[in-house]
Point group: C2
DNA sequence: ACGCTGGATGTAATCGATTACAACAATACG
DNA sequence: CGTATTGTTGTAATCGATTACATCCAGCGT
């Protein structure tokens, strides 16, 4: 041990140790070293020991690039995120990293930031064979064109969104429309009749679906859909959008008794703005959110919200991608999984009598 | 265009296109194709056009593994994070991704989760030459042993923490002790004399330093350091730790008028627990946090806190690592940068008269 | 004793790019 | 007109692993 490091030091500039070095030291061919590592039961016990001992002595680690080149597999996945500062994705990334690392895959992250250049960049990363699979975790699906330029041989999955009619990608999402309707139905069940909605960013599919669910529930209960109660203008699922919505709230002569926000952060921003003006929550206005991010439970009042099973979705999506990456050429069918949301009742909704 | 895709389709299973294919189609050698890409001005204009046209036609993208193998550089960096659900690191990761991607580097993330196995795993990733540089973004520095097994030829940086006496890594942090003292001094300046502290997780260096700063400020003002006012037991920089601290608060007969929490999330958890019991903030108890995470400003009351310049630190650390990765062999000196924190006064601290 | 079988190992091709060096043509210059 | 120079391109070695195929040898059956 001590000697070997001395030798290394004495030799001057430390070259990284290759399989050749190990083979030489163990007195075998490189093929044997490779086999000792990959299929230990196919080399004689004595040889195996010699090889392992040489590996230990040199601190050899197989070069990833060489391995990838030959094996045509990098053991890496690309996770694409929108990249806004939003904490919604933290548990998702956590779950993904957990499952992928456990399976020996590395996680390359990419924030698209709704920028065309960045999408092109990551499309190139995929085409360069730098990853074995791709997981798109975003509402803003990369434009078809770019997505199409990457070969279908690379397994792709989508989370929290849907690309209509693409059979080559797995999809893991929730029924946003249904879940939103359920949230609004809950408000109605608590006696609310005048219910407002703060949609998410205009372009997003989720935002549209949640708005749709809001309308569904109203119509179903025989309540009017009033455009004055739909406070558009959100640029994102963020605090600022909730803040802007509050401005619209205060302009109203006839105020709603309850508000359904398309995301927790919007709800929090909205609540904060109302409280600042002395409006009590839920005493004066009830608020319900969507997502159940980590802050929902710690706010004051704790936010009643529709939970998306983010961690579970992450785990499932990762497992599915692993399965499809493992099956090299054979066509493994993609999955379309829609998980249930769950209403989490806390303190921000008051029952009207 | 249309024809080429038809041909591909007709040829059956689409093999990924290599430099050989491009060379053949353009009627040149692979060397010329490579040159046309890497140094366009060293090939004749006509040839260059032929090559580019062939590249466009085939949709060729150079294989990353082959390039890495030959060039001994992967254009990737490993970012190690503790991996607790904490949102503190979101803007840091954002800044890192931004700078690295802009420079053509990919970001591989690794959550150490304080697990020995994972640290070993990522040490192997580095030794396998899978990344050109490493950025450790965590208070819990990987154990020396593992860190030492990776060659010093791979540039390494540390953020938010320090490894005493390691000249081979760059360090980007803040003076936790000084900043904490400043925070407590502010409380004193507002008339507080009985000030409690909620430290972070026992093991962490930051937690120790912040506790040290707290003591410094007290001593300096001639105030006693009372162990009953140091509410240990935090397991992390999280809500739950603040919640547990609240239990200790309520057990006290003589309560403090102000509390310095070692992190915003701890402060938020603490405030929430107090408010639940009808204790007003800041009317009954003042609270000051540390970090200035995104939620500090949106909480009610908005949290007065000591801001760490997370985004700036991320940018600087990334830029430094890029610089050192660019200088292949030459020994570029490492940086030791200590950025200033800034007191952000909001609503959670009351002036005592 | 001979050939056969199968286990263990070595030889060398291969993955796809980069690049040192060689080869060659065209031009410039004496 | 011959030679030096410059510019352009091709040939082939190289990066470090994996793996198909060849080889060798021991043990076995007849």
């Amino acid at each position: 041990m001590a000697d070997s490091s001395d030798i290394e030091a004495a030799e001057g500039h430390a070259r990284t140790v290759t399989i050749q070095d190990v083979a030489r030291m163990a007195g075998v061919s490189t093929a044997t070293v490779s086999r000792a590592l990959a299929m230990p039961d196919r080399v004689a016990a004595a040889t195996r020991e010699a090889v392992f001992s040489a590996i230990r002595e040199t601190g050899y680690t197989p070069n990833a690039a060489a391995r990838s080149l030959r094996a045509k597999s990098t053991k890496m996945v690309l996770v694409l995120l929108p990249g806004i500062g939003n904490s919604f994705f933290t548990p998702v990334l956590n779950a993904l990293e957990e499952v992928f690392t456990e399976a020996g895959y590395g996680v390359l992250i990419g924030y698209t930031r709704q920028s065309r250049r960045r999408e092109t960049h990551y499309a190139r990363v995929i085409r360069a064979g730098q990853v074995d699979g791709v997981l798109v975790v975003t509402g803003n699906v990369p434009r078809d064109e770019e997505f199409a330029s990457v070969p279908d041989t690379v397994p792709k999955s989508l989370m929290f969104s849907e690309i209509p009619g693409n059979e080559h990608v797995s999809v893991f999402d929730v029924d946003n429309r249904q879940a939103s309707a359920a949230a609004v139905r809950y408000l109605i069940s608590q006696g609310h009749r005048r219910i407002a909605h703060i949609p998410g960013a205009e372009g997003g599919l989720e935002a549209q679906e949640r708005l749709g669910g809001y309308c569904d529930a109203l119509v179903e209960a025989g309540l009017p859909v009033d455009e004055a109660l739909i406070w558009r203008g959100a640029t994102n699922f963020d605090f600022a959008s909730g803040d802007r919505a509050a401005a619209q709230f205060f302009k109203l002569s006839e105020r709603p008794t309850a508000v359904f926000a398309a995301a927790d952060e919007i709800a929090l921003g909205f609540m904060r703005a109302l409280k600042n003006q002395g409006v009590g929550i839920p005493s004066d206005v009830s608020v319900i959110g969507f997502d159940d991010t980590d802050y929902a439970i710690h706010y004051d009042p704790a936010l009643t919200t529709m939970r998306q099973p983010r961690t579970e979705m992450g785990r499932l999506a990762a497992a599915d991608l692993l399965r499809r990456m493992a099956a090299r050429n054979e066509a493994v069918p993609t999955s379309k999984v829609r998980l249930p949301c769950e209403l989490v009742v806390r303190e921000s909704v008051r029952r009207l009598d």
